[in-house]
């Protein structure tokens, strides 16, 4: 591992996630083997014991998700990693983590679905599942890094967002980002700020685990530290005890759904390139953004006014940031390795302001810059 080194090193995306997680203070990992995420579990098994952390392999993905929730409640930063079929199994517990406001980082190295699909081929087919995979309205954050270096910084931010806002964060890699090797500058990626879990102050007897302190995010005590702590997936009052009254349900849901809106600065993450004078906007995320960037450069060389709006934090979707381009751009292109998922969000935001054109593939192949360039020329 390269944690103590300086300079630029060749990293695999899955390795970068492990390094960044350990740097972020992750000391617990529960996992289950599944292609193409298995390297994360294997590396965690080797690296965590060296820093006093714990790795456990569970009997399935349901168990892995339960274990990270349990570990997180004790005050330990916890992570699990999986891919499509395992992500499906984790959904019930992801909803539980969201509702009980238990910080956890869930890595999903996306492969082609549905079902067993193509275990070794890249996809972005789980974007909507990351948002709506578990039942019920719930807050969740999903981040889709576009390079190996960004997998590193995204992991650090995933822990920050999860811990600070008490929300599960889905790290949506795709198989290309997970398995590709790229140079990563250790200094650059380690400069990212870390945010921590808010701890309770004051007397233990006054502590209410779900009492809003005004920020929308209640301070969190460690399970077993002497604070009264009751955790349940039922609707729960400030003490954590079940309260199924409609009045309270409205209050709780308002705070839960509102906390991400109130802290947009913590989770919003967009990278804009050449957008100032852009007439055609590419909205991209994950590994296709690399092909899109290449297409953008070639298009600019041809004198075409193309810009890129790269979404890194996919959920909550950066609607205000994108809405700025209404009235400016003539067309929006959305290249995605699925049959049109984030495009629906882009369409919702752009409304009638500009046509939104999708470039979609769900065949396990990558986008070539030429395909995107051709579409740009077509639109122009």
């Amino acid at each position: 591992m390269n944690l103590n080194k300086t300079g630029t090193h060749l990293f695999q995306g899955n390795e970068a996630v492990v390094e960044a997680a350990i740097l972020s203070g992750c000391r617990f990992f529960a996992g289950y083997p599944i292609t193409p995420s298995t390297e994360i579990a294997e590396l965690m098994a080797v690296e965590l014991p060296k820093v006093g952390g714990r790795f456990i392999q569970m009997e399935d993905e349901i168990g892995s998700m339960g274990a990270v929730i349990g570990a997180s409640l004790t005050g330990t930063k916890a992570m699990t990693a999986t891919s499509g079929p395992g992500f499906s199994l984790k959904q019930e517990n992801i909803g539980y983590a969201s509702f009980t406001e238990t910080p956890v980082v869930v890595v999903n190295v996306q492969r082609v679905g549905p079902s067993t699909g193509m275990p070794t081929a890249p996809s972005q087919g789980d974007v909507m599942q990351a948002r709506w995979g578990t039942h019920g309205d719930h807050p969740v954050v999903a981040i889709a890094p576009g390079s190996v270096a960004e997998a590193y910084t995204a992991t650090i931010r995933a822990f920050s967002i999860s811990e600070f806002l008490r929300v599960p964060v889905i790290l949506l890699l795709d198989e290309v980002i997970g398995h590709m090797r790229e140079g990563v500058s250790v200094e650059d990626v380690q400069a990212v700020e870390h945010l921590e879990r808010k701890r309770p102050k004051g007397s233990k007897s006054d502590f209410r685990p779900y009492r809003d302190d005004g920020s929308g995010v209640p301070p969190m005590a460690n399970f077993g530290d002497g604070y009264r702590f009751h955790v349940t997936g039922l609707f729960h009052d400030e003490r954590g005890y079940p309260d199924l009254s409609p009045e309270w349900a409205r209050t709780l849901m308002k705070r839960l759904m509102g906390k991400l809106d109130a802290h947009r600065d913590v989770h919003e993450w967009v990278e804009e390139t050449e957008t100032d004078d852009a007439e055609i906007l590419i909205v991209s995320y994950g590994s296709p953004a690399q092909a899109a960037t290449s297409a953008l450069r070639q298009a600019r060389a041809e004198g075409l006014r193309v810009g890129q709006f790269r979404v890194v934090t996919v959920w909550p979707f950066p609607e205000d940031a994108l809405a700025k381009y209404k009235g400016q751009v003539r067309a929006v292109l959305v290249p995605e390795m699925n049959l049109g998922q984030l495009r629906l969000e882009v369409e919702r935001v752009m409304g009638d302001a500009a046509p939104v054109l999708g470039l979609h593939r769900a065949d396990g192949e990558l986008f070539k810059p030429a395909e995107i360039l051709e579409k740009i020329r077509e639109v122009d």
Binding site: G31, P33, T38, V46, F55, Q57, D60, E61, P85, T116
Partner: protein, 310 residues
């Protein structure tokens, strides 16, 4: 139900060569022996794993039987549905053939993620044979530990380091768990004991209701053994009593083979690279613990089978 080699050699086994299982892998040998033993037409299910992946690589299939692969955790549930529908069709007179249902899963798909599905199928009493090929780790994803991995074995998620000497804790005794389901037939065997294996398959197929076979399977890659040593190492598993050949018929235990001379467990461990570190002086206690566990299990089985035969 005598097994005649000459007759067997004439039989077309509905599982072809040319699949991409590794040389020396026990799993395809097991499948061939199972299908060779079956006299009835078979419909098979297979859990996610090496057997599923490497025998059905696009655009080919090695299977001459109908085959269904669903997911990792649910071959027993999927075959339950098929068997139940078949029963309904038969009751209605829409099918008259006597079809047998066999589910195959590795140890990951059986001991771990598929245990709930297996347990449910056995409890409901579906007329199916579940066959676990147990090679003691998740070999398909690159050798991660499972709950079938023996104490001390090195895998990629139970790596040997300065402090942790391989997998902590003993393996799960799944055959006992299945016997505790009080189903008509449960047995343990290996493909190195082909006559034993095929006899057990015939018995399992003959019973009405669920049957479970736990079959030790070699993995040259994961066990770190030469390709051509699979059969001899599987024999050693039995001769050291690590993997006793026994059966539980309607609750009654029967030992099928008692080695004349019980070999020390180290004879089985030593040829396998995954146990190499156990022979360092500081890990002597692990070897002793492994031997003690084998002895305890063996004595228990002897007691049970003696008690049941008296």
């Amino acid at each position: 139900m005598a097994i005649n080699l000459r007759e067997l050699s004439k039989k077309t086994i509905p599982f072809t060569g040319g699949h991409r299982m590794c040389a020396g892998c026990g799993a395809p040998i097991i499948v061939r022996q199972v299908l060779a033993a079956a006299e009835q037409p078979i419909a098979a299910g297979v859990a996610t794993g090496c057997l599923e992946v490497a025998t059905t690589i696009y655009p080919y299939s090695a299977w001459g039987t109908p085959l269904i692969h669903n997911a990792f955790e649910n071959v027993a549930a999927t075959v339950s549905g098929i068997e139940m529908a078949y029963r309904a069709l038969k009751a209605r007179g829409a099918v008259d053939k006597d079809i047998k249902f066999v589910a195959f899963g590795g140890d990951g798909g059986t001991y771990d993620i598929g245990l709930q599905s297996l347990s449910g199928a056995m409890e409901r009493g579906h007329d199916m044979v579940y066959i676990c090929y147990d090679n003691g780790a998740y070999m398909n994803t690159g050798i991660q530990r499972s709950s079938a991995t023996p104490l001390g074995a090195e895998t990629s998620t139970s790596p040997v380091g300065k402090r942790i000497p391989g997998k902590p804790g003993h393996r799960k005794n799944l055959t006992n768990i299945m016997a505790a389901h009080d189903i008509p037939y449960v047995a343990q065997t290996t493909p190195a004991h082909w006559r034993d294996l095929m006899t057990k398959v015939k018995k399992a197929l003959a019973v009405e209701g669920p049957a479970f076979l736990n079959i030790l399977s070699s993995c040259p890659l994961g066990w770190r053994i030469p390709d051509d040593s699979s059969i001899s190492i599987l024999r050693l598993a039995v001769d050291t009593c690590f993997w006793p050949l026994f059966e539980v018929e309607n609750g009654s235990y029967q030992m099928n083979y008692e080695p004349k001379e019980k070999k020390p467990l180290s004879d089985w461990l030593k040829p396998q690279g995954r146990f190499r570190h156990l022979f360092r002086p500081e890990n002597k206690h692990i070897l002793e613990e492994l031997q003690a566990e084998v002895d305890r299990n063996w004595e228990r089985l002897l007691r049970l089978s003696k008690y049941d035969s008296e």
